[in-house]
């Protein structure tokens, strides 16, 4: 249905013509059945994934990790160590896949880039005054340009939640568009909604569509800096949004849950959500990522358990 899709895409360009059309569109999205959504997310979490399927899921999850360090105390040494770990997550077993990317603050991009040089691992940088996003647009764009100049392959921006919650959707839209054009074609843009601050599932659905309309390559749940981060329910909701967006426009957008995913079991539940909601096309680290740090160690311990039959322990993975 290429004609239908392009017609729909055309219809969607009208949506962003003015503040009122955008508002009408976002508020016209169907409301979210919160109980149904959480029930569906919970029921998909009960699948039993064992043996070879589990081994496949663990390797896939490792390859989807954006290994993250976003602390005030980050040092070049820590970032180099993280880079080395991203390239060879388990030095004792070279069959372990590399992670998708390392995710750092803009001033650490150059260090990270050097640390992962010659590998498939990308460097993602948070920008736009992460995590609060409370800075003038010029400052945010300068932040993005600095990260790009240092060699970032991916930019993780935060939206202006204040403007979003005040109903000023056009402002949020324009900011994303501006950041997207600053990224150009050389960096993929991930848009962080901070779902824990959006209050309702309806808002998460609206934010997802807003981000995708503005040209996000990825929509990402959260910064990892607030109480509620990625949950199965809000990730399921965003997966439905990218599925519907592709059905309407033909454009595929990635999803990145971040924060609070610490165990292999959780990660595998998310993979089930991806497969059952968006579909197999998203089961690839080009379209789905985990923003995490401690998750990788648990994945590695589970991988060792599958390989040796013995439960592994934290003494056998790096401390980071």
């Amino acid at each position: 249905m290429p004609t239908n899709a392009s017609a729909a895409a055309h219809a969607l360009t009208d949506v962003t013509a003015s503040d009122s059309t955008l508002r009408r569109f976002l508020h016209g999205l169907p409301g979210v059945d919160a109980v149904g959504l959480e029930g569906r997310a919970a029921s998909l979490g009960t699948r039993s994934i064992k043996t070879t399927a589990k081994a496949y899921a663990i390797d896939l999850a490792i390859s989807m990790v954006d290994l993250t360090t976003l602390e005030g105390a980050d040092t070049p040494g820590k970032v180099r160590a993280l880079g080395a770990k991203a390239v060879h997550p388990d030095p004792t077993d070279r069959t372990t896949p590399a992670t998708a990317a390392v995710c750092v603050y803009p001033d650490m991009v150059a260090t990270a880039k050097e640390a992962v040089a010659g590998s498939t691992v990308k460097v993602a940088s948070v920008a736009t005054s992460f995590p609060a996003g409370r800075a003038p647009l010029t400052v945010k764009l300068a932040d993005v340009r600095e990260a790009m100049a240092a060699g970032a392959d991916e930019i993780d921006m935060v939206i202006d939640r204040g403007a979003f919650l005040a109903g000023n959707y056009m402002k949020v839209y324009d900011e994303i568009v501006a950041v997207k054009s600053a990224c150009g074609t050389s960096a993929r843009l991930k848009v962080i909604f901070e779902t824990g601050e959006l209050s309702t599932y309806d808002n998460i659905r609206r934010a997802s569509w807003l981000g995708m309309l503005a040209g996000a390559d990825f929509i990402k749940t959260s910064t990892g800096k607030v109480a509620v981060n990625a949950t199965p329910a809000n990730t399921l909701l965003m997966l439905e949004a990218v599925r519907d967006f592709r059905a309407q426009t033909g454009i595929q957008v990635g999803v990145k849950p971040a924060g609070g995913i610490r165990t292999s079991k959780d990660a595998i539940k998310f993979l089930v959500l991806v497969n059952e909601t968006a579909g197999e096309d998203w089961l690839d680290n080009h379209w789905f990522r985990f923003g995490a740090s401690s998750l990788l160690n648990d994945l590695l311990m589970q991988r060792q358990k599958l390989a040796t039959g013995r439960y592994s322990g934290p003494d056998y993975v790096t401390v980071d």
Partner: protein, 297 residues
């Protein structure tokens, strides 16, 4: 008087300060010494063992870091709680071991005394097995004992309560955390002990009690890379050999005092069960050149 319906107790595991059923949902029948049914006990799986190790590891930092004095107070508190529930333990021990009421009461009294005895040792063991070492050089040299870590304890199969406490108390007195596999045949006193520990200020996860088939639970524990030591008191010779081989993989400490059979649990225990799960840390501190008096400090 109307007939009351009997209120049966659901025996559950004690893991991480909580009372879960077995992850597998299985139970097995526990009988008294004459073979009549007493209760259903949870039949733990290797995943329950794994969860217990996670809980024990999580609790280790806090428990090992608590002052020895504080650990002593908490262990004494356990003895106080045991005293208050004596009647229940007398009944359970009598059923499990086929003892008369008075014999069982003697066992329980000895058990509580054993617990108090180990409570007293918490802040004394360091003086006995640690101290300053005379060395041939200008160094101040000190050794102090530190807990080994997470210890898997296979409780004795025959002595369901005195034997159990005699192997659990020395492990935790020195700051280790324990995953205890209760006697397969008579696990009920061990499961009830979990209820006592939960109400004794003992942080959750310091002691975790599993019931079930000893061989099934002990095998993954012995191979577990995050378990630092294993006490084979409750393993028969064949099982013990297998477990020792599995434990060698990550160089676990293995405690299996000889002779294995017919241990008299009522005898004075000595400090061997405490020192078995201690690591000695030695610190060398330079003192500068020795003065004419032979000492510079």
């Amino acid at each position: 008087m109307s007939d009351r319906l009997s209120v049966f107790k659901t025996y559950k595991l004690y893991v991480g300060g909580k009372f879960p059923r077995s992850e597998s949902g299985r139970v097995y029948e526990v009988t008294d010494s004459k073979g009549s049914w007493l209760a259903n006990a949870p039949q733990s799986s290797r995943k329950d063992a794994r969860d217990a190790v996670v809980a024990a590891r999580k609790a280790f930092g806090g428990w090992a870091g608590a002052t020895a004095y504080n650990r002593g107070q908490i262990l004494y508190r356990v003895a106080e709680m045991l005293e208050g529930r004596k009647a229940q333990f007398v009944r359970e021990v009598a059923d499990a071991e086929g003892l008369s009421k008075s014999k069982a009461a003697e066992q329980v009294d000895a058990t509580i005394d054993r617990w108090v005895w180990y409570a007293g040792w918490t802040d004394k063991i360091a003086q006995v097995v640690g101290g300053g070492n005379p060395v041939a050089g200008p160094f101040f040299n000190l050794s102090s004992p530190e807990p080994t870590g997470v210890v898997a304890v296979l409780a004795p199969q025959d002595s369901s309560f005195l034997g159990l406490v005699s192997v659990v108390a020395p492990v935790i007195a020195t700051g280790n955390t324990a995953v205890v596999v209760a006697s397969e045949k008579s696990p009920l006193p061990a499961l009830s002990l979990g209820e006592v520990l939960a109400t004794s200020d003992l942080p959750g996860g310091v002691v975790n009690v599993l019931s079930g088939r000893t061989a099934e639970i002990a095998t993954p524990l012995a191979a577990h890379q995050d378990v630092n030591a294993i006490d084979l008191a409750g393993a028969d010779d064949v099982l013990a050999k297998e477990l020792e081989i599995a434990a060698a993989d990550n160089l676990k400490r293995v405690l299996r005092p000889q002779p294995v059979d017919e241990v008299d649990w009522s005898a004075d225990p000595g400090i061997d069960r405490m020192t078995g799960f201690l690591e000695t840390k030695t610190v060398w501190h330079p003192t500068g050149s020795l003065g004419a008096s032979g000492s510079s400090y």
